[in-house]
């Protein structure tokens, strides 16, 4: 029951983030490039909640974005957010989350994976022209922007993460120490 409630609260938080992303970060850009808060959110869920919970919420969040602002083919954002969720579960098992630097490196990695994957899907499905130079420029700025935001939000993220972790992973044993 508690997990369902957390799920509902997380989804409401996602909707708030969605409105911030579509309204505020549409004009608060670095050289015309906005950050992607959903990548940070999916990574955060994967790191601090259970695999199943993060996976389900990532799919729901991705589908919501696809329904609202997606293309004819519903699902590209959902696919990529699911991949980020799986990736974050892997990162959680193999790396420590106790330092700001590790989290920032994880965000960089997640942003690169997400954007390359989404751009690849867009080329494959919608026939986007391959413009690697421009894409790299956009990707670099987005990585920088996501890094700055993670750096700003690190402390509240960490506190909230620990709280969530106590609900989801209290009986877990860190197998990497065996």
């Amino acid at each position: 029951m508690k997990k369902i409630l957390i799920g509902v609260i997380t989804y409401i938080s996602f909707l708030i983030i969605y409105f911030i992303q579509t309204n505020f970060f549409n004009w608060f850009t670095i050289a015309g490039v906005s950050p992607n808060l959903f990548i940070i959110l999916a990574l955060f869920l994967g790191l601090f909640t259970s695999n199943y919970f993060a996976l389900v919420l990532s799919v729901i969040m991705g589908l919501t974005i696809d329904f609202e602002v997606g293309r004819q083919f519903v699902g590209t954002t959902a696919i990529m957010l699911t991949i980020i969720s799986v990736l974050s579960t892997y990162l959680d098992k193999n790396f420590s989350k106790d330092s700001r630097l590790t989290i920032i490196i994880m965000v960089i990695l997640a942003t690169i994976v997400y954007e390359i994957g989404l751009y690849g899907l867009n080329i494959f499905i919608f026939g986007f022209e391959t413009e690697m130079g421009t894409f790299m420029k956009i990707l670099l700025i987005e990585v920088l922007y996501n890094t700055i935001i993670t750096s700003i939000l690190y402390n509240p993220m960490r506190k909230l993460g620990n709280l969530l972790e106590s609900y989801f992973k209290e009986r877990n044993i860190l197998t990497r120490y065996f």
Binding site: A31, V69, I138, Y154
Partner: protein, 271 residues
């Protein structure tokens, strides 16, 4: 030894300031910084003038200053005259703009009078950095469906790709997956205008005939081929022609007539 009580907060505040500066500096037009330049000039220029005056006195190069008073008066008169002329010019420009706008409305009314249309507001935009789609507040209930052309006052916006009961998704012409069959008005030659992830105000015109005389300033309109867009809707003007070694590879840059960053209302053509 002194130790900061909240090092985390300080670094967060610094990061926020850096972020705000980055956003400001990368988005502001350098021309808009003229007020900062004025402040800087107001502080530095008088000191610099003082130094120049002293330097001229010392080097004996001060004959110039003998007529200073006369020159000042003359300068003041000229400034006043200039202000008057500028004011007259501004009034003329306003009248000219009003006239052009009225003419444009009259032409638009004639141009699109045959189409059945519905006005819509843009309620959302694509969140991706290399995709340009718009969500409008009209849908199937208002008779809007996939494939319909979307216009703005200045020209072509795009077409509806999907619609729900009360909203519709519009693929704009600058989207990276968009291709519009177009025509150069001066020569009536066909071209294809493609969007890119690089710009939200420019299109790349390809498939230019090798014998075609495409020039900067040429107007580009829809050709009507392809079955989505009606013929003769303004797309934009040629802003650059890029010649390559192979003539078949040359392309032109078309600046869109519609400013997509300032687009809030559109017109959906229903028939």
């Amino acid at each position: 030894m002194y130790k900061a009580k909240h090092p985390g907060i300080i670094s967060t505040v610094i990061t926020i300031i850096v972020l705000a500066l980055l956003v400001f500096l990368t988005n502001v037009d350098i021309k808009n910084l003229s007020y900062a330049q004025s402040i800087s000039t107001a502080v530095i220029k008088p000191v610099q003038n003082g130094f120049t005056y002293l330097k001229n006195k010392i080097t004996g190069n001060d004959a110039f200053f003998t007529d200073l008073e006369t020159l000042k008066k003359e300068n003041e008169d000229l400034k006043n005259r200039n202000s008057e002329l500028e004011e007259q010019l501004r009034e003329l420009e306003i009248i000219k703009a009003q006239n052009a706008s009225l003419q444009e409305y009259a032409v638009l009314k004639d141009k699109y009078s045959t189409y059945e249309s519905v006005a819509a507001d843009i309620i959302d935009r694509d969140i991706s950095n290399y995709s340009s789609q718009l969500i409008i507040n009209v849908g199937k209930k208002q008779g809007v469906d996939a494939g319909m052309t979307v216009l703005a006052e200045e020209g072509l916006v795009g077409h509806v790709v999907s619609a729900t009961d009360n909203s519709a998704t519009v693929q704009v012409i600058v989207d990276a997956s968009s291709s519009v069959s177009a025509m150069i008005t001066t020569s009536s030659e066909s071209i294809i205008c493609k969007g890119s992830i690089d710009s939200t105000s420019e299109l790349r015109a390809t498939y230019i005939d090798t014998s075609s005389e495409i020039l900067v300033g040429d107007t580009v309109v829809t050709s009507g081929i392809g079955g989505i867009y009606p013929k003769g809707i303004t797309i934009g003007t040629v802003s650059n022609v890029v010649n390559t070694n192979n003539l078949t590879d040359r392309y032109a840059v078309v600046e869109t007539a519609v400013d997509f960053s300032k687009l809030y209302t559109v017109l959906v053509i229903k028939n």
